[in-house]
């Protein structure tokens, strides 16, 4: 399935995306280049009542890699994302980032970790409806203590880079198209220079063409920023944008394949993959 021909060509080329904005001089601005660490899951078990969502999942994600997590409904892929990102605490096993334990941190420390070192992109953006695009993007920086002017300037440069600059920066999410809103969500995920970006069905609410566009932007910008990318998706076309595919079935890793060449396809060429890269 993974070697199927590529879907329609993405609407823009990866080369059109500018490099990440230069870091600001403000002390609260994210340090760049930030230390990139491997994300490691060892023997993760998680239950919801009697239902076993993860039955002992182990996974090592090197820094900077893009990983697609696929699987049928109820397979446990979102639970895996939630455990990896510290949203859920596994019943057994552990998650480490650069050797530091994530799963044993106190709730407040895990929140801080998510806020400062992770970025999130959700299916329907989940932007704050009352804030204009630029303030949505600036929010993580304001929470980190950056001044308003510097935070907005940083947000603006990201929005410009992702094609939602100009007047669109001032629009509220309800006044943006689905694709534009998802670009804003990507900018919000990247603005504080995270080590890992978690994307949960990032194209689930978009049409196919817009979905490809969003995936191209997400994978390209994450790659340029040197961030690790973990994407949970149902869609094999979306998964194809990542350099590695992990398939979850019945709460376990069913397969783990690695692309032999750098992704970011711009044509319908199939991506050869190396089986069983664990």
């Amino acid at each position: 399935m993974f070697d199927a021909p590529m879907p329609d060509a993405p609407t823009s080329d990866a080369r059109t995306i500018a490099p990440p904005p230069a870091p600001t001089a403000h002390p609260a601005a994210p340090a760049s280049p930030r230390r990139r660490d491997a994300l490691v899951a060892s023997g993760l078990v998680h239950r919801f009542g009697q239902v076993v969502a993860l039955g002992g999942v182990s996974l090592t994600i090197p820094a900077g890699q893009s990983v697609a997590v696929m699987g049928p409904s109820g397979s446990g892929k979102s639970t895996l994302l939630h455990c990896l990102s510290g949203i859920l605490t596994p019943d057994a096993g552990e998650v480490t980032l650069g050797g530091g334990r994530v799963s044993t941190l106190r709730d407040a420390d895990r929140s801080r970790l998510r806020r400062e070192r992770f970025g999130f992109v959700f299916q329907d953006g989940q932007l704050i409806g009352e804030l204009p695009a630029r303030e949505n993007v600036a929010l993580p920086l304001l929470l980190a203590g950056m001044g308003r002017a510097a935070a907005l300037a940083h947000a603006d440069s990201w929005l410009e880079r992702l094609g939602v600059g100009g007047d669109m920066r001032l629009r509220r999410p309800g006044e943006l198209s689905g694709g534009q809103a998802q670009r804003v969500a990507i900018a919000r995920a990247l603005v504080h220079d995270p080590a890992v970006i978690f994307a949960d069905e990032p194209t689930g609410a978009l049409d196919q063409a817009t979905g490809h566009e969003v995936m191209q932007i997400l994978t390209t910008t994450a790659s340029m920023a040197g961030a690790t990318l973990v994407v949970v998706t149902h869609d094999p076309h979306v998964a194809r944008w990542c350099s590695r595919l992990v398939e979850i079935r019945d709460a376990l890793v069913h397969s783990d394949t690695l692309a032999t060449s750098t992704p970011l396809p711009t044509t319908g060429t199939a991506l050869p993959r190396q089986e069983d890269a664990r």
Binding site: F48, V51, A53, G71, S73, G74, S75, G76, K77, S78, T79, H82, S85, I87, L88, A108, R110, S111, R112, L113, R114, R115, E116, F118, F120, F122, Q126, I128, G129, E130, L131, E135, L139, P140, L142, L143, M146, G147, R148, A151, R172, G174, V232
Partner: protein, 472 residues
């Protein structure tokens, strides 16, 4: 075509209410809040009605203290004055009571909204859904009326601590006749039914989902021009009042002036709140930014929460200028001293009831907002945003409209009363008692509103703590 009987609608409504109460997302809690709000509305309605009834009774049979006075007319005139003042207090409290009752009904309707779409999908008509929702609201209101009656009974000893006409309030005096009970209950139930039906017209229920109307556009500055025009009209009507007119015409002109004034305040204030909030968005504080943006996005809701306090704030501002000590008047006889004390007690009591109603409305609106924003709050929590951000934003969100309204209304009240007060001999302008009343009003109102905002914490915890397994 409607095929569902009323019994079936009631049965379905009951089963849906049961399902909501088991829902971990917090929508069931909204039903409980709606019942609680109905209970507060009913309780305070009974307090106001029974108090007015007491004055009506005292008019027929004046208290012993009044009959012992040398002034023979006092026993006739004073009780009538108190009935009129009580009726005025009732009139002042009608709007806050209607606001809270309406908020309770709307809250229920919004909480049910998503489930209603499913009912449309399985074939229920829009009319059936509205009527079923009205039935649900009536059940909630009836439960609230029952609880309110119990609360009223429990509060009788407290009401007995009050003194009017130099005579303590006896619980027996507050016992209302059956027809008054029936009348108050009928009004409360009718209010709940009407508010639900009206509330659902703001929600488009289609089989594919329920959508609220799009975010309204920003309020325009023409409201300022309308305010100026309205003030001109009021001034013109004031000129008309100088002419020799019949009592009926005078009354109609005065009612017209009052109506225009209230309309103008309701037209202008949301715009003013939006303007103030727009200035407030220039902040580096994420919580304040969020609060100000929420007010900018929906200034009418912000105003609705505090609108009932505007007129009362104006009156308290006026009354606050009257010094507590009677020396300022050059000494008063015991009758006028009693009237002055009763006036102040009545005003403070009316304001306290209005504040309680206002804070209950705020708590309801904020709770409803927490449930409506459940997805957003969960997403922010996943991103590591501390829940304190939303809590702090809510505090700013309720404090700004409240403070703006109180400062303006109290200030206007003081300004309106000063010419009269200054004309009295030996009267201190804004003495310590005036400042104390004004400060206590602001501090009390602020404390109640912040308490109302804080009351959403358990609901937010419940929303964020809902760890159901997503169908992934």
């Amino acid at each position: 075509m409607s095929t569902l009987t009323w019994t079936a609608r009631l049965g379905l409504a009951t089963r849906l209410a049961g399902a909501r109460l088991r829902d971990t997302g917090g929508s069931g809690a909204l039903d409980l809040f709606a019942v609680g709000a109905n209970a507060v509305t009913a309780w305070l309605s009974f307090v106001v009605a029974s108090g007015t009834w007491m004055f009506v009774q005292r008019r027929a049979q004046p208290p012993a203290w009044l009959t012992t006075l040398d002034d023979a007319d006092a026993a006739m005139v004073v009780p009538t004055t108190h009935v009129i003042l009580a009726a005025m207090a009732c009139a002042l409290l009608v709007w806050p009571i209607l606001s809270l009752g309406g908020a309770a009904a709307r809250l229920g309707a919004r909480g049910r909204a998503r489930r209603l779409a499913s009912l449309r999908l399985v074939g229920m008509t829009s009319g059936e859904i509205v009527s079923m929702s009205v039935v649900e609201s009536l059940v909630q209101a009836a439960a609230g009326v029952l609880l309110g009656a119990l609360a009223w009974t429990a509060s009788l000893p407290l009401l007995g601590l009050l003194t009017f006409q130099n005579t303590p309030v006896a619980p027996a005096e507050l016992a209302m006749p059956w027809w008054l009970w029936l009348g108050v209950v009928a009004v409360l139930l009718a209010l709940a039914a009407a508010s639900t039906a009206l509330g659902l017209t703001r929600v488009r229920i289609s089989p594919l989902g329920v959508s609220r109307q799009a975010t309204p556009p920003a309020l325009r500055a023409w409201r300022l021009a309308a305010l100026a025009a309205g003030v001109f009209v009021i001034a013109a009507l004031g000129g008309v009042m100088q002419a020799p007119l019949g009592a009926l015409v005078m009354g109609l002109v005065f009612a017209g002036m009052l109506g225009i004034a209230i309309g103008l305040v309701n037209l202008f204030s949301p715009w003013l709140l939006q303007l103030i909030a727009r200035l407030g968005v220039r902040t580096g504080s994420p919580a304040r930014l969020l609060a100000m943006r929420r007010i900018v996005a929906d200034p009418r809701s912000a105003w609705r929460n505090v609108s009932s306090l505007a007129l009362l704030g104006f009156l308290v501002g006026m009354i606050a200028t009257i010094p507590l000590g009677t020396d300022a008047f050059g000494g008063l006889d015991s009758l006028n001293e009693m009237l002055l004390a009763d006036l102040r007690t009545g005003a403070v009591l009316t304001l306290a009831i209005a504040l309680a109603l206002g804070s209950a409305s705020t708590a309801l609106a904020q709770s409803s907002d927490v449930v409506d924003r459940a997805d957003e709050l969960v997403a922010l929590d996943k991103m590591g945003v501390p829940p304190a951000l939303d809590a702090t934003a809510r505090r700013h969100q309720v404090a700004l409209p409240l403070l703006a309204t109180l400062v303006l209304s109290l200030g206007l009240g003081v300004a309106a009363a000063l010419p009269l007060v200054q004309s009295l001999p030996r009267m201190a302008v804004l003495g310590p008692s005036s400042v104390a009343i004004l400060a206590l009003t602001v501090v009390g109102a602020l404390a109640l509103s912040l308490l109302a905002a804080e009351s959403t914490r358990p609901l937010r915890r419940r929303v964020l703590g809902a760890r159901v397994r997503r169908n992934d």
